[in-house]
């Protein structure tokens, strides 16, 4: 078994227990054994980690990483994504079917889980493919996928365009008590678009992704969640229209959750003026008014969670012109710092709130262990230096995808260590 750990001199930040104070943490047998243990309770031979100047928080949980293995290993493997996640402070990630074949069978779930276990990085939870073969028409064997270990269902990275399928699946999944994740977009309205549709796209002559392509899908999603009483999560969202809709239905007591990507909280469509493919992300970077609204929505919990939006693509694929280049971003290793720079630095959120949106809330939405420093819970922990500024250098990424809109940018907030089941699996140099 792992060496017991004592983490001391840091600040414990745990939204699940409303904990925000100096303290120390004892980890034994892969679980959190004690908070502020008495000296007599310390275990002989335990490793002491000095977390001076750092936050000690529950490991981050990512609600949506696009998995590329099997099928597109040139973009990212299960091994590299699980280590990229750790370096970004994520101890658990939910991985969806950016794969070929999609994860719609017991065997496919098993493949991912085994590879993930061998990787010894972050925990990878499988989001099963909602429709058979990802065809968007017929339900996959959701019950059997649940038995195999899938924690949620989605057609992501694709949208679920078929209203009847989504309705049936929301009904059916009530029995399984698993959430459905929809990536909200009406394909017909978004077809061919490469960036936010607005003044900038008009001037650049690039085909736009109109906000209503997302707004309409969110409106449909929340209405079906209400009608079926199903568990639904929409995200990532990127528009004022989505926020407005979510705010209204939440005020009526309808249970639905939503997430946003950190880059959509910081950058606007003006970046596309450089025509660089590293800004071609999905959902697209929107105009500043949307960015501002999204930040406020994270503050007031209209948007529950922040997800990395990691969509790895190989360097070759990202080297083409903007029409040919796929949407892609390596964001696991910048997500926390981006969110901290966009939200904590200007005082919109405090660290407790940010950890809530990136750990506690996503763990609850996904219905998985995590998001807490509760005694007896798995010791999935991240240490964060909240004041450290660093320059983003994609060549230092653990991810095999190096396309990032933050290349060369200075961000504040750095992951110094990540612990999974009581084992230190990542330590910054």
């Amino acid at each position: 078994m792992n060496t017991p750990l004592l983490i001391e001199n840091g600040v414990l930040v745990d939204p699940s227990q409303n904990l925000n104070r100096r303290g120390r943490l004892l980890i034994h047998n892969g679980i959190i054994a004690a908070i502020d243990p008495a000296d007599g309770d310390l275990i002989a031979g335990c490793r002491v980690i000095d977390a001076a100047g750092c936050l000690i928080a529950p490991g981050l949980v990512d609600l949506g990483v696009e998995l590329r293995e099997p099928g597109f290993e040139e973009d990212e493997t299960i091994h590299s994504v699980s280590h990229a996640a750790l370096a970004g402070g994520f101890t658990s990630i939910l991985a969806n079917s950016g794969t070929d074949p999609v994860i719609d069978s017991h065997g496919a779930v098993e493949f991912v889980r085994q590879k993930a276990a061998q990787a010894l990085g972050a925990k990878i939870h499988v989001v099963g493919c909602l429709s058979k073969g990802g065809d968007g028409k017929q339900m996959a064997e959701l019950g059997l996928l649940t038995r195999a270990g899938a924690v949620a269902f989605s057609d992501a990275p694709r949208a679920i365009p078929n209203d009847a399928l989504l309705k049936r699946a929301l009904e059916y999944c009530r029995m399984l008590n698993r959430p459905i994740f929809d990536r909200p977009e009406v394909p017909e309205l978004a077809s061919g678009g490469v960036m936010h549709e607005g003044q900038v796209s008009l001037v650049l002559g690039l085909k736009g992704l109109p906000t209503e392509a997302e707004d309409l899908a969110v409106a449909r999603d929340v209405r079906l969640a209400e009608a079926t009483d199903g568990r639904l999560h929409v995200g990532p969202v990127s528009t004022m229209g989505s926020v407005d809709m979510l705010r209204r239905v939440k005020s009526r007591g309808i249970v639905v959750s939503a997430s946003v990507c950190p880059h959509n909280l910081m950058l606007s469509d003006a970046e596309m003026r450089s025509y660089e493919s590293r800004f071609k992300v999905h959902p697209p970077l929107r105009s500043p008014r949307h960015v501002e609204t999204l930040c406020q929505a994270v503050k007031d919990k209209t948007i529950d969670a922040i997800q990395s939006g990691h969509m790895p693509r190989s360097r070759e694929k990202m080297m083409n012109d903007l029409d040919q280049t796929p949407f892609g971003i390596s964001s696991l290793e910048t997500a926390l710092a981006t969110a901290a720079t966009a939200l904590v630095k200007p005082g919109i959120l405090n660290w407790m709130e940010l950890i809530d949106r990136m750990s506690t809330q996503p763990a609850q939405i996904a219905g998985i262990d995590g998001g807490t420093l509760g005694i007896g819970k798995p010791a999935d922990i991240v240490l964060i230096d909240p004041n450290q500024s660093w320059d983003v250098d994609p060549n230092q990424f653990r991810s095999t995808c190096i396309s990032t809109p933050f290349e060369g940018m200075r961000l504040t907030g750095r992951v110094t260590a990540a612990i999974v089941d009581g084992e230190v699996r990542f330590e910054a140099n």
Partner: protein, 321 residues
């Protein structure tokens, strides 16, 4: 024939690439037009050859089909004594899967001074300017810009009216998919013209109003105010879904016809960037009528391209020294 002295113009020009008109100042556009005018006259209407650029090589790198722009650039280079290399995308390494940037780097490595590029995607010229060491001229990047087309339109108007200041110029038709429209919009605005952008709402975004331009949907209403009409081709090939019910309906609403001409000013200039769809944007009697300057535009195309090649090359030389 003596070579013209262009030194005073060269001192006012510092760019190595011509990517768009949006980022140029009014002074820079005027310099381009002035040099075009001098070179047009020095070549006897773009018909005679000078040796201003002899020993240099211009590569035409067209990833999208073109006849007039490509030949116009070739002739412009040759009229100034430069050599040309032609490169098309069909049957080339692009169809074998090479990225456009790699293709461009290969051509550059053969030792060229300018790359003239056309591509179906906006921003490709900007990307090449960053990747390549030579001068880059944008000959059309998707619906973004086509700066030399904008310049030749400006030059043609200036030759007829002396100045753009205060003129009302309407761009009519498929604005959404038109690079010519975008280059005209910025060029006209910078030189002081009043720009009206006219077409059906599916092809003319209301956001142009937010950017300070007049937007109109009814040609007949604006026609009496216009000094110049620039009739843009309906780009069927770029439209994902037909933005109007039928060609017949479009022609009824927007085609410049003899009967519409009666509502226009007596000295109106009728322009079209071509290729023209006769009977769609313009009827034959107007295209071939006394107000049409369509063929002058073609000649001026060579003049502005000579100007651009010359000025970029001069800036490049200054940069190197």
């Amino acid at each position: 024939m003596t070579e013209p002295d262009l030194t005073p113009f060269v001192q006012r020009w510092h760019r190595r690439h011509l990517l768009d008109l949006e980022s140029l100042s009014a002074e820079e556009i005027t310099t381009l037009l002035d040099v075009a005018q001098v070179l047009k006259e020095a070549t006897d209407g773009c018909r005679r050859k000078l040796s201003l650029l002899s020993g240099k090589t211009c590569a035409n790198l067209f990833f999208e089909n073109s006849t007039r722009t490509r030949n116009s650039f070739s002739l412009a280079a040759k009229r100034l004594g430069a050599d040309t290399v032609e490169f098309g995308s069909s049957g080339s390494s692009v169809s074998k899967g090479e990225t456009f940037a790699d293709t461009a780097k290969t051509i550059e490595a053969m030792g060229v001074d300018w790359v003239v590029t056309r591509h179906s995607t906006p921003g490709t010229a900007n990307l090449l300017a960053r990747e390549l060491g030579c001068c880059v001229l944008n000959a059309g990047d998707g619906p973004h810009e086509h700066p030399t087309q904008g310049l030749l339109d400006l030059l043609t108007i200036r030759q007829h009216r002396g100045s753009l200041q205060g003129l009302t110029v309407a761009l009519v038709g498929d604005i959404a998919h038109s690079r010519t429209a975008r280059s005209n919009i910025w060029g006209l605005k910078k030189l002081g013209a009043h720009v009206i952008i006219c077409g059906p709402p599916t092809l003319v975004s209301p956001r142009w109003e937010e950017l300070g331009f007049e937007v109109a949907h009814h040609l007949d209403e604006i026609l009496p105010r216009c000094d110049v009409l620039n009739l843009l081709r309906v780009q069927f090939e770029r439209q994902h879904a037909r933005p109007f019910p039928s060609v017949r309906e479009y022609a009824a609403l927007y085609a410049m016809s003899a009967s519409r001409m009666q509502r226009a000013k007596d000295n109106i200039l009728i322009m079209a960037p071509g290729p023209i769809n006769r009977g769609v944007e313009i009827t034959p009697e107007v295209a071939d009528g006394p107000h049409s300057v369509i063929l002058e535009q073609v000649t001026n195309g060579i003049a502005v391209r000579m100007s651009a090649l010359y000025l970029l090359s001069a800036a490049d030389r200054l940069n190197a020294s």
